[in-house]
């Protein structure tokens, strides 16, 4: 029988192949920390592709594609497995969305989105390499400029 580093869940979602260092940030972005049901988090697990990976298993919650895409900037290689009665019934990859909201801080200190509790919003103008354009001040951020909120 296959040994699992992180215990199986009966029904829910498994986010796999997360860049290990980003695992806790993923729980933040998807607001998993406030779940009431069982949440299992594994970090620094062995991965053929990533070297070390993170995994998150959430009992009783189905994550849809739109919600999962929120983590595209920090976990672009992640996959989501939907589990029903211990079986994988659906599997999908993260897709970089057209618009990113409330995740990345605009790097322009004079941007209106850094004032008055305005939700930061960027348009994805290039997916590989990632380039984001602020919805408000129009400045373009590349990977080196990206700071998560």
């Amino acid at each position: 029988m296959k040994h699992l580093d992180v215990a199986a869940i009966k029904d829910g979602s498994v986010i796999d192949h997360i860049d290990s260092k980003s695992t806790l940030k993923v729980t933040e972005i998807l607001n998993i920390q406030n779940e009431e049901q069982v949440v299992l988090v594994g970090m620094n697990l062995t991965s053929k592709f990533l070297g070390k990976k993170g995994i998150i298993k959430i009992e009783g919650k189905i994550i849809d594609q739109k919600e999962a895409n929120k983590i595209a900037l920090i976990a672009p290689n992640a996959t989501v497995n939907i589990i029903k009665d211990y079986e994988v019934v659906k599997k999908f990859q993260i897709v970089v969305p057209e618009i990113i909201e409330g995740i990345v801080k605009c790097f322009n200190p004079n941007c209106v989105s850094n004032y008055n509790n305005i939700k930061a919003k960027q348009h994805v103008v290039n997916k590989k390499p990632i380039k984001l354009q602020c919805h408000y001040c129009e400045r373009i951020m590349s990977t080196k400029d990206i700071v998560l909120i």
Binding site: N110, C111, V112, S113, Y115, I118, Y136, C137, R139, I140
Partner: protein
């Protein structure tokens, strides 16, 4: 078919070449009529959170010449912003008093924010160092009128290219017309790297220099800008670049220029452009300022649906 009815005028990036030319053509028609009543009964709210002379007064003049009315303020000290009211709340409230808002604000992206929270059209009259689209329309109009075309020109941008929003908007628009661009500035005021990359992505031939020497003979237009003291957090940094360029009749002749060169400046000028240029055929900046009225008449009439 081009239509500007109920559209926000936030950024020059939101308009294609056909739309830019449509407004220039409309401005030409507006230039031929002084007063009309096509906007009778319409109210413009002119909200200036930053100082302005030309933009504010030319918008007010344009609205009144079209038969409309103007309310508003010229500095935020007299408004609820001074009590800490957010921009979103201010524009939501003012929306109930007018048909269109013209907004200038020191924060970049403020016009887009306003457009996102109100139903009536917003015209951006300058948002920090970002965009000033109506200035770009009048700059294009001036170039087209004085050079006879917008196609294939060689333009030199001089001065504060980092914070100069008029430069960013105009360079973006001229990219539609196959312009070749020379960006001349001190190293600390170079065009933002992301913007330069945007131009290169659009296949614009663009070059950076620290002086006009050696390139001035190639230029059809020089777009000179003021080094803006108000954008510098550190006064020492401002002093380092203050007065670094001073265009005069003599300096232009020394550098060598085309006979039909035109010099534009969004004004106000401080010491970057000498009075000796004013009487020459190169100087078109006072005409440029005057062109603010027909351009803003065209935009107001088009956005408020008086012209289809």
């Amino acid at each position: 078919m081009v239509s500007f009815k109920n559209r926000d005028i936030i950024s020059i990036r939101h308009f294609n070449k056909e739309e830019l030319l449509y407004i220039l053509d409309l401005a030409r028609r507006m230039d031929l009529v002084d007063h009309t009543d096509m906007l009778r009964g319409k109210v413009l709210a002119s909200l200036f959170f930053e100082p302005s002379t030309r933009t504010r007064l030319s918008f007010e003049s344009a609205m009144k010449r079209l038969g409309g009315m103007v309310i508003g303020f010229a500095e935020p000290g007299v408004t609820s912003a001074a009590k800490g009211e957010s921009l979103s709340d201010s524009v939501r409230i003012i929306e109930g008093y007018c048909d269109i808002i013209v907004l200038r604000h020191y924060l970049e992206g403020s016009a887009q924010l306003a457009a996102d929270v109100v139903e009536i059209p917003i015209i951006n009259a300058g948002d920090g160092a970002n965009q000033h689209p109506t200035q770009t329309f009048l700059d294009l109009y001036t170039i087209q009128k004085t050079k006879g075309t917008l196609e294939g020109l060689t333009i030199g941008f001089l001065g504060d290219l980092k914070y100069g929003r008029t430069v960013h908007s105009l360079a973006y628009a001229l990219a539609y017309f196959g312009a070749e661009m020379y960006f001349v500035s001190p190293p600390s005021l170079r065009l933002p790297a992301d913007f330069l990359e945007t131009l290169k992505d659009r296949k614009v031939k663009c070059y950076e220099h620290e002086s006009l020497a050696g390139i001035s003979k190639r230029l059809d237009v020089i777009y000179c800008t003021r080094i803006q003291k108000e954008r510098f957090a550190d006064p020492i940094e401002f002093e380092k670049v203050r007065g670094v360029y001073r265009l005069s009749k003599t300096t232009l002749e020394e550098f060598g220029i085309k006979d039909d060169l035109k010099v534009l400046h969004p004004l106000p000028r401080v010491d970057e452009m000498d009075d000796s240029l004013d009487a020459t055929d190169f100087a078109v900046y006072f005409h440029q300022a005057r062109n603010g009225v027909p351009i803003r008449k065209a935009l107001l009439a088009a956005v408020l649906g008086a012209i289809e």
